[in-house]
């Protein structure tokens, strides 16, 4: 789980927050509602986790409830992997 969080953190830092101090992106930092990820950015994160973890994210699963923080994304990925 920690590994998943770290990989997602690195991806978001490099793709959406260039130059940001990594310590400022915590597990519970809000991503969607704070504007770090807009809807197109969220889709890029969705594609990243699908490819990286071999899961399929349905359209209705990519909302704020699963993609608003690193912790939420990691938990969602974990639950999808468990179902696979």
């Amino acid at each position: 789980m920690d590994n998943i969080k770290e990989e997602i953190r690195q991806y978001i830092l490099s793709e959406f927050l260039p130059g940001e101090t990594p310590a400022n992106l915590q597990d519970d930092t809000l991503l969607r509602t704070s504007g770090v990820l807009d809807s197109v950015g969220t889709l890029r994160v969705v594609s990243f986790v699908e490819e990286r973890y071999g899961i399929e994210v349905e359209a209705h699963e990519a909302g704020v409830e699963n993609f608003d923080s690193i912790a939420a994304i990691a938990a969602f990925v974990q639950s999808k992997k468990a179902l696979a």
């Binding site: 959406f16 260039p18 809807s39 349905e58 359209a59």
Partner: protein, 381 residues
């Protein structure tokens, strides 16, 4: 990054220039005035290979890499005065053919790509709507799943090639509440019941590239017509835009080069007050500015090819190029008219058409305002 064309790229560009100069300049003034698309020119472009530049030979294309495509487009832009035709080719290639090549099923690719390459099918793309332009993902055209079919309803705006197109890539939402995650792409043939090309749209420039509104009224299509997965239309749209932004500008490098050469030639020959007008600093400075613009635009466009050729993202770089080349093109068109004076304002000179054609470059494929947003986002702002 090497800024020189390879021998192969130069050979392709030279061939494109020769082809465009000899085959694509018929009757442009009249066709521009009367808004006539050149089907004959389209067929010639198919024969030359321009309609399938990046498509693998197995599907009927030339199988060129992006740098080679850019080199060819630059050559076509230099050789033809019919920028509307090239605009139509860009719409066909980047927003219809390439999405099918990249995201289509094998069946879709086999069915459509050979015909898109050989000129039998003209491609169009329907994304914008009356109330969804720059905010394109706020589209309201609905795609409702019914068994093994989808039923589409909505109105699409600014659909380039629509009056002559045989095949449309259409974007619609499965559910507006899903936002961009609901947007899905479909491939729809023109004769599908419920798809209607309605109002033709008259334009300031690019008048030889036809445009219209498209309405979808209970347009029922098989599920096999979906392009890519449900809810992944945004990724398809964005990929198209990245290619288009890079390659549509390559034509304009050719236009800017042609204008620069003709201005240099003119200011050397044209004499006023007993000397060539190029000796007057005010005139020379305009030519210098045109040269500086061309030399700064060119690496920006080829950088996109260099990045995409290595499968690296180029969203920010494509936005930088689109923003800068579009404004440079318009400035150079105005300089060329000013250098030619009264003659530049005459229709027969072609420079006023170049300017009218250029004005749209800060609007299509994302306005300059949207390009600035993309760049700011890429900088983490």
């Amino acid at each position: 990054m090497d800024l020189e064309l390879t021998e192969e790229q130069q050979r392709l560009q030279d061939a494109a220039i020769e082809f465009a100069l000899s085959e694509l300049n018929d009757d442009v003034i009249r066709r521009d005035r009367e808004e006539v698309f050149s089907l004959a020119g389209w067929k010639k472009c198919a024969h030359f290979g321009a309609l399938g530049l990046p498509v693998p030979p197995g599907y009927g294309g030339m199988g060129l890499g992006i740098n080679e495509v850019i080199a060819v487009m630059e050559g076509l832009g230099y050789g033809t005065r019919d920028q509307g035709l090239l605009f139509s080719i860009n719409a066909h290639l980047w927003t219809n053919t390439l999405p099918i090549l990249t995201y289509g099923t094998e069946e879709q690719k086999q069915r459509y790509l050979p015909r898109l390459c050989n000129g039998e099918f003209i491609g169009a793309n329907a994304a914008s709507e009356p109330d969804a332009g720059s905010d394109v993902f706020a589209m309201r055209t609905r795609a409702e799943r019914r068994g093994d079919c989808y039923v589409l309803n909505g109105t699409k705006m600014f659909v380039s090639n629509a009056p002559v197109a045989n095949l449309f890539v259409v974007f619609a939402t499965l559910d507006v509440r899903l936002g961009p995650m609901g947007i899905t792409a479909f491939v729809i043939e023109r004769d599908t019941p419920g798809l209607k090309v309605t109002r033709a749209i008259e334009k300031m420039g690019l008048r030889t590239s036809p445009m219209a509104e498209v309405t979808l009224e209970d347009c029922m299509i098989p599920a096999a017509s979906r392009l890519g997965r449900e809810g992944r239309g945004v990724g398809i749209f964005e990929a198209s835009m990245e290619w288009e932004r890079g390659c549509i500008l390559a034509n304009y490098l050719g236009v800017m080069r042609r204008q620069l050469e003709s201005c240099i030639d003119y200011v050397r020959k044209r004499k006023q007050f007993g000397q060539a007008i190029g000796k007057f600093q005010s005139v020379a400075n305009r030519v210098v500015d045109m040269k500086v613009r061309l030399d700064t635009c060119r690496p920006l466009v080829y950088r996109i090819g260099w990045l995409k050729g290595q499968n690296r993202p180029a969203t920010l770089e494509a936005a930088v190029a689109k923003l800068y080349v579009a404004q440079s093109l318009i400035a150079s068109c105005q300089d060329a008219i000013q250098i030619f004076g009264g003659y530049g304002y005459m229709t027969e000179q072609g420079l006023e058409r170049d300017l009218r054609d250029a004005i749209a470059s800060t609007l299509y494929s994302g306005t300059s305002e949207i390009q600035r947003n993309l760049i700011a986002k890429g900088l983490g702002l």
